[in-house]
Structures are given as structure tokens and as C-alpha cells.
Symmetry: none
Subunit: 232 residues, 4 copies
DNA sequence: AATGAATGAGGGTTCATTCAT
DNA sequence: AATGAATGAACCCTCATTCAT
């Protein structure tokens, strides 16, 4: 999104560096709580010079969102088009998603936290892109259900489970190399896809046991908001 | 400056109402981007009167965190002490957690997003409480592994999967009654606990197929950050 | 200055106690920087109740000024009327002044610092009273000059020297009993009255030496605001 | 947030002008009672622009204190090092002190009144500097006593008398040229040094007369706080 | 004799942004 | 390509005071 008509050769490089610094700061302190001054300081520029590169604070946010969304969507589209088993495609998509989460951790923080700070158009566009990404996953899950690899489920809920599992990772993972995308993807997919597969497993009487427990202990209220101090 | 020693009967009621309004606003716009003026306006009070009730903006944040953390932790402790199978206890905990997420949705938004805005002591205390909650889940998972109901897994990663699945729900669920805690808990636990159970399932050759795919298609780079524009 | 038409017996007592507490706080933190809340807290009253006793914050200031000015002026008038030597009367006045400074130290702080916070009428009245006090001293000094005990001086400057010496004491004296009014008065008067007395003393060539020093060292500039870094 | 790294040529000039205006206002109304808005108005700047120059309100106070303390201390050190008679040095110091009082009258008001508004570090530093200044005077007085020019006195009390006499001047002197530093210094030093000199003078029976007066008139209570309304 | 609640103006400070140079 | 200076709105918070009860 170049604004002034003509730029020198270093323009885009410096611009990208500023966005990097901004992502770090936004991730650490939040978009709203980070001042333009701090960004300028981190990038070694005065406020005035900063505006030559960025146009506005919200632009920075837009760019950071794009840096996550654009490669993610591009890769998701390519994976979706591969001519292999849908479960395998989901597994590849899982790893691609985790890969970007782990390597652009601060961008992801901003992406997950501050997308609601975007104004009208920017926000709409982002939500449309997220919708497309979710659609790709839903389609793959539907394919796996159609082929009998996964049991029949609410497809939207299955997609949401997939995203819950992956997208919340940014909250606790640290960029210290202790976790890598391949390992996490293996583990997540082992859990999810076993849980999604067709044959019922040995824990399937769990819901009956829940009901029985509630019948036998009607006095125990486990609703967190119901008080329940009586048993103390 | 401690709150005045005595309050009228309406004080606590109004105070709670203010916290409610603040939670709505913080959830919608973020803590840092919500002004004290807006909160006053939403509560029908002038700024001065507002401060008679709240003491400080951060206090509001603390109260909102407490309204999530206190009942959650209390219920989690009670469930952990029940003398039933650990898998059943995890299922009950799942439902309790989802119950609070669904019914205090805006509090959860704030809880998940803005805890980092808390200053020193408040933050430390909150993190300690979160640690305790995570410990309870870890212990239940460890019990289930010891009893052979779940296979041996990295206990921390299992706990994190459990929390990923549940805690990300606030991002997409709407308080419109379309989803209820019991249903979501059943579905989440069906997926997770089948995935966690001891016997390997029929998708266990997935990882071999991943490796094979990569061998056979070394030219396909699926790393989102590796460029990969060549195929465009 | 009782305001409500009828009071119970404890009214004036409590009122005086409030003024005491206010004087302490004003002395320690300054009038403008002390809040009504603090005064209420120190007096064990809520803000509302406080106003029942004091009427306004400025009223407190007026009362504190009066507590200094009224006894001081009354005593000064009595001393002035005594039929003894003016130097003796000055000595008695000195001790009376120091006595009130030492025993109402916090009132004096407020009296010296914050009289300029008084609004129109209150301020005018206070300045008139101060003028009367200064007049009493001036008259005594003039009497002493007329009688030949003191040499002829600018009477206003002599009075100002007398007041400088005494009134600045509050800045460094502590209410710990290390200094007492009698001792300080003896010392101050020994210095002042010897200095004021008629006969020139052995240091009277000092001014000549000052002039000679300046002639002999014209390059040494001792004016604090003249730079003078040259000699560094 | 340090001041921006570079400033234009007018920056320091404008900054000094702002400090001037602030000193006037602080002197007239007191530091705590003067608003940032007023300062901005007096300097012809909006609040935002004002902060570009000053950083904080307390900074202004610090600068004003420095403008008094720095030249005063520098000059005092230079005078102390002169190789002339200690009494002459005291006389030069007296004039330097009065010179700064008369020419920076509003700064002195602030210096004397509002140093207690300084926060921790700034206050500590200032008090240390005041201590050094007092030490210089004490040393000169001690030298004069050792050389026999002054009689033996409590050295701290002698220093305090010197400072009382000089430092209280700001309370009544007007910047109208009616008084000048040389004249005041001559008069003050004439009084003080004659009072301090070795030989006892003709008023030295004053204390005996005080005692005799009290014996002969035991019914006359001259303590300002002892009631004494009886004679009214 | 005292309270709890409210007001509204003002406190000091930081904000994102603009623009002439 | 970048700066220093300015703006003006908004920031969170505290103030002295009032008044029905």
C-alpha cells in the first residue's frame, strides 16, 4: 500500500522493518496501549518520519493482519487443491497453520487480539478472509465424513474444534524452540482425528455415567455461577 | 484511599451493575480502548460519581477477572475432590468451564484478552490462580493415564489441548442459545477423550502417509512463509 | 464564626479539633495540596459531616490565621503598653513571638506559607493586622532610638531585621524541645540589640575592606548571576 | 520518555521563557494552586505544546530550584576559597545571597515555599545542596570565632541567625529598586557582625533586667497562648 | 448530628496526527 | 527522507462543595 508517489529504494525495506517492530510492541502491550512514539523509538525514527512510512497507526495493524492472512490463505488454498486424501490434507493444513503461529508469534498475537480494532472496510475484508479459511477446513472435514473416514458430525462444530485446538496455541507457546510445528501438529491431529473417526471407542459410555452421577448426587450443584457454598 | 467506610444499601448493587456495563464495553472494544467516560455514560453516571463506586479503572478489570476466576476455581476444586473416575471428573469440569464461558461471555473476553493490562500484584495473583486451575486439570489427566484409561502422553501437552479446545470457544460462540454448555461439553469430550484413550485407532498410519507424501512430492513446499509464489 | 443557628455542646470542641488536624495537614503538605477528604479522615468524619462544622476549606485557613494573629496581637499590644524601657519591651515581645512560633509550629507554617491563598476580605484583614504588629515593633524601635539606646537607623529596615530574624525560625526549628523560646530570644536579642546599639564597634572598618578588596581584585566577579565561569 | 533527541535552535530559548512564566505564576499563587493550563496560557502555548517543552510540571519546579541553587552554590564555593579574612568573606557571601534574592525574586518565592512539593530524589538532592550551603556559612563563622573576631557561640545557631536574617527578605522586599543588595548587605552585616563580635556591649545587662521585671510583676503573663484575657 | 451520593469543573498527562521547512 | 513543533481531543482521576434524608 505505497502512499507517496515516488520512493527511494530503501523505502519498502524500512517500511517492513517498522511493521516488524510494531508487531513486537503490539503483541507485547496490545495495539491500543502502544503509542506511536514507542514505535518510532523502536524503529529509530522520529514521529514525523514514521508517518512518512506508515500513513496511520491502523495501517500498521492492517499490514500485520495481512502478513498472517495472506500466506495462510494462499497455503490453505494450495493444500485444498492437492489430490490426496482429505485427512492427509487436514494434517498438512494443521502443520502449516502451526508453522505460521510458531514463527510469527507476535503477528499472531496481534491477529488474534486486535483485529476488532480495525475500522469498517478493513475489518470486513479480514472477516471475509477468515470465512474463506474456515470454509476450506469445513470442506475438508465434509469430504472426510463423506468418504467415511470421519463419522457424521455437525460440520461447523468439527471445524470449530479444529480451530480451537490450533488457534489457541499462541496463548501459551513460547518462541524458544521447545515446541515445533511438526510435533504439535502430530499430537493435535492424533487427538482430533481419532476423536473424529467413525468407530465408537471405549469411553462412549461416558455420557451415561454423567447422567447416572447426576441422578445419584442431585444435591451436588457444579454450576460455577450457582453459588453452591452449601456443601462447604 | 480506601472506599468510604460505610455504604448505603444500593451501593453494592449499583457497583455490580457498573461492572456489568464495563464488562460489556471492555469485551466489545478492549480494555485499553474503552474510556472511563463511556463507562460512565453506559452506567448513567458522571465521571465523578463513577469513581465513587469503582476507585479506579483497573479495579474494574480486577473485578471482572475475579468474577470469572473465583467461581471457576471454586468449582474446579470441588470437582477434583469428587470420588469418581477421573475421566468423569474431567467431563464435569469441561461442562462447568463451558457453562461459565457461555454465561459470562463478555467477562471471558476480558479475562482472555486483557489480563496483561493488570499491574504487578493483580497480575501475579491472577497468573497464580490460572496455574492452580491448570494444575487441577493436569492432575486429573495424570490420574486417567495412571489408571490406563488414557494412553501415556506428555501431561502438559494434554492439558493444553484440553484448554485450547475449551478456552478458544469464546472467540466464536454467541450468547444466543444456539449452543449450550452440555452439548459442547459432550462433543469436546467425545473428541478429546477418544483421542486420549489408550488403544490406537485406525488413523494411526496418518503420519506414515505424511512422510510418504513429502517424499513423493518434494517440490511442493507448503510452508506458508516460504514464498511459494512460483505456482501462482 | 458559628454558622448553623443552634449547636449542641460538643460543636465548638469538635470544631476546634478539626482545625487542629487541618493545621497539621496544611503545615505538612500545604494548603492547596491538602484535600478535604484527608482532613475528614484525620478528624474521623465523613466529608458531609465535616462541612457541618467548617463551612468551607478557606474557613479553616482563616481560623488558623486567627489562632496565630489574635493572641500575638493581643500580647503585643499589652507589651507595648508596659511602662518599661523600650529595649526591654522588645525583648519581651521577642520571647512572646518565639513562644508562639515554637508552640504552634504547624499553625505558623500555614500562617507564613498560605496566607496568600486567602480571598479578598480575609486577606485584607490579615494584612491590616500584620501591619499593626509591624507598627508596634517599629514604634518600640523608634523609642529606643529616641532614647539613645539604639543608634539612628532606617526604622522600617530595623523592624524588618527584627522580623526576619524571628519569623524565619519556623523553617528550621523542630518541636522537639531542643530549642526553647527563652534561649532563642536571648540569643537573637543579644545579636540584634548589640548590632543596633549606638556605639560603633571594632568591625566598622569592614565596609572599607570590602571596597578595597573589590579594587584590588576587579577581575573576580562574585555576582551569582553573572556567569563567572572564567576562573574555573 | 526522554526529551526528543534533537531540538531546533529556538527550543531552549522558548523553554527558558516558559520557566520564567511558570516562576512568576508559582511565586504569585503557589506551585500546587497553579494549573498547567495557566502556565500554557501565560506562555502562549496549548497544553500539548507546553508538554513538548517541559516534560512535567515537577520538572518546572526542579528547574526553578536549580536556577537559584546552582549559581548560589557556585558563588558560595568561590567565596569560601578566597584568601581573605572570614568576616570579609561572610560579607561578600551576604551580598551575593541578597543579590540573587533581589534579582530572582519570584524564583526565590518558589524556592522557599515549594521545595516540599518535590518528589523523592529531587527533594533529597536539593536538601543536600542546601546542607552544603549551610556548611559553607558555618565554616566561615567557625573561622571567625577561631580567629577571635567573633565571640564563641553555638556555631549552628549563629549560622541560622545569618540565614534567618537574609532568607526572610524575600517575604517583604519588592522588585522596585528601592532596596539594593549592597545596602541591605551592609545593614544586615553591620547588625549581625557587631552582634557576633567578641567584646560584650552596653546592653548586656538586658537579661538581668528581664529577670527583675518578671520578679517584680509576677502577675503579668505575657505568654500569648496563656489566655491573659483577664486584663482586657 | 451526620450520611451517602452526586455534581461538574478541573487536575496533570498522553494521544494520533499534521505540516512547513 | 526527515525534522521539530504544534494541535486539540481525549486520557484517568481528584477536587471542593451540595443536599436530601
Amino acid at each position: 500500500m505505497p502512499r507517496p508517489p515516488g520512493h527511494g529504494p530503501g523505502y519498502e525495506i524500512k517500511r517492513q522493518e517498522i511493521i516488524d517492530r510494531a508487531a513486537e510492541l503490539f503483541a507485547r502491550k496490545g495495539y491500543a496501549a502502544t503509542g506511536i512514539n514507542e514505535i518510532g523509538g523502536a524503529a529509530g525514527l522520529t514521529k514525523g518520519a514514521l508517518y512518512y512510512y506508515i500513513g496511520s497507526k491502523e495501517n500498521l495493524l492492517v499490514e500485520i493482519q495481512s502478513r498472517v492472512m495472506r500466506p495462510l490463505l494462499r497455503t490453505a488454498r494450495r493444500i485444498a487443491r492437492l489430490e490426496v486424501d482429505p485427512v492427509l490434507r487436514l494434517r498438512l493444513l494443521s502443520e502449516a497453520l502451526l508453522s505460521i503461529i510458531l514463527r510469527r508469534l507476535d503477528h499472531i498475537w496481534v491477529y488474534e487480539h486486535d483485529y476488532r480494532m480495525l475500522g469498517g472496510d478493513n475489518r470486513t475484508r479480514l472477516l471475509r478472509q477468515r470465512g474463506e479459511f474456515e470454509g476450506i477446513i469445513s470442506n475438508l472435514l465434509a469430504e472426510a465424513m463423506d468418504s467415511g473416514e470421519f463419522r457424521e458430525m455437525n460440520p461447523r462444530l468439527a471445524m470449530l474444534q479444529f480451530l480451537n485446538m490450533h488457534n489457541h496455541t499462541y496463548q501459551w507457546v513460547r518462541p524458544d524452540g521447545r515446541w515445533d510445528a511438526g510435533y504439535l501438529s502430530r499430537e493435535y491431529c492424533a487427538t482430533l482425528f481419532t476423536g473424529f473417526r467413525a468407530a465408537p471407542g471405549p469411553v462412549d459410555d461416558l455420557e451415561e455415567r454423567v447422567l447416572k452421577f447426576r441422578e445419584q448426587h442431585p444435591e451436588i450443584v457444579l454450576d460455577p455461577l450457582e453459588g453452591g457454598e452449601t456443601e462447604a
